[in-house]
Symmetry: C2
Subunit: 157 residues, 2 copies
DNA sequence: TTAAATGCAAATCGTTTGCATCTGT
DNA sequence: ACAGATGCAAACGATTTGCATTTAA
């Protein structure tokens, strides 16, 4: 496990000799300070609060850069909100996302099972895992009330 | 576990009182006979071999219908091939997809851990699981050769 | 008969690209 | 100085929509 957990995105980029521009600095900070589940359009909007000039293309190019360096993760969130992808700074431990089809809330879930699973996959398949994306869709505890049964609705999703 | 595994998509729709059109019949068969990992454009192309008239809009509307009824699953495959989503008829057992960033191949992986995990999530979070989407990106055994180490490339993804 | 499904074409949404200009190192 | 980053606007690919017409039940 590489030790890139405590450094900021900015530090990571600097360390890797990547050129730091004002725009990148702002985007990195915005991602890091965000409350997670940021899509590209929101990132652009937030970044523009700090620098009105920042361009959409720069946002996408920075996202691509950070993906390549594996400093951020990209989520699809079982397509709850259409085609867009969501970003977040990579953390030490992999997490599973629970997306509620009714209220749209995203919960995180971590489990020691996950590490065992990754090991099992690597061992059995010889697969070098770079990205793990685990997404569950359904009804959260609030929205399922306490009695609703599974799989009977034509409404959800 | 509901017993909707052995019926065809057509039977499922009929059973639920959904109107069956020629186009739907063709689309359902195409999905079912396909070798998996079908995107909307491919589905349209394949369906058109049977009926040159089938329209793109109908394809998307049918996909949406089947998603709502939870008869198909939609995958993003860690975005390996850009924005499109992939479809497949739902099967009894949930599977994890291993997408190779180098050769693009998709492998399936099943594990008894998965069922335990789902149970754990339901129990601990009170979450009613409708969809499980598990995607792993990395290098398959062929592409990782046998010695390539993890996380050192700026190339992949 | 009629609510629902289709075809068509245009619109929309997220993302990418070519190119001239600017900037970090 | 110059490779690399940016802004802009246009292009792109996937998906959605409005509306007039057709069709399954």
């Amino acid at each position: 496990m590489p030790a890139l957990e405590r450094r900021s995105l900015l530090q990571e980029l600097t360390l890797r000799g990547v050129r730091i521009t004002d725009q990148r600095r702002i985007l990195l900070e915005t991602i890091q300070e965000s409350d997670r589940h940021l899509d590209a359009a929101t990132l652009l909007a937030l970044a523009r609060r700090r620098d009105r000039q920042i361009n959409r293309a720069t946002v996408y190019r920075t996202i691509e850069l950070l993906k390549k360096l594996r400093l951020i993760e990209e989520l699809d969130l079982v397509n709850v909100n259409g085609g867009k992808h969501y970003l977040e700074a990579k953390t030490t431990v992999d997490r599973l996302r629970l997306a509620c089809f009714k209220c749209g809330r995203i919960e995180d879930f971590t489990s020691p099972l996950l590490e065992r699973w990754k090991a099992e996959i690597s061992r059995l398949r010889g697969f070098q895992i770079q990205i793990v994306r685990l997404e569950v869709g359904g009804w959260c505890s609030k929205c399922s009330g306490g009695k609703d049964r599974n799989g009977s609705s034509d409404e959800a999703l």
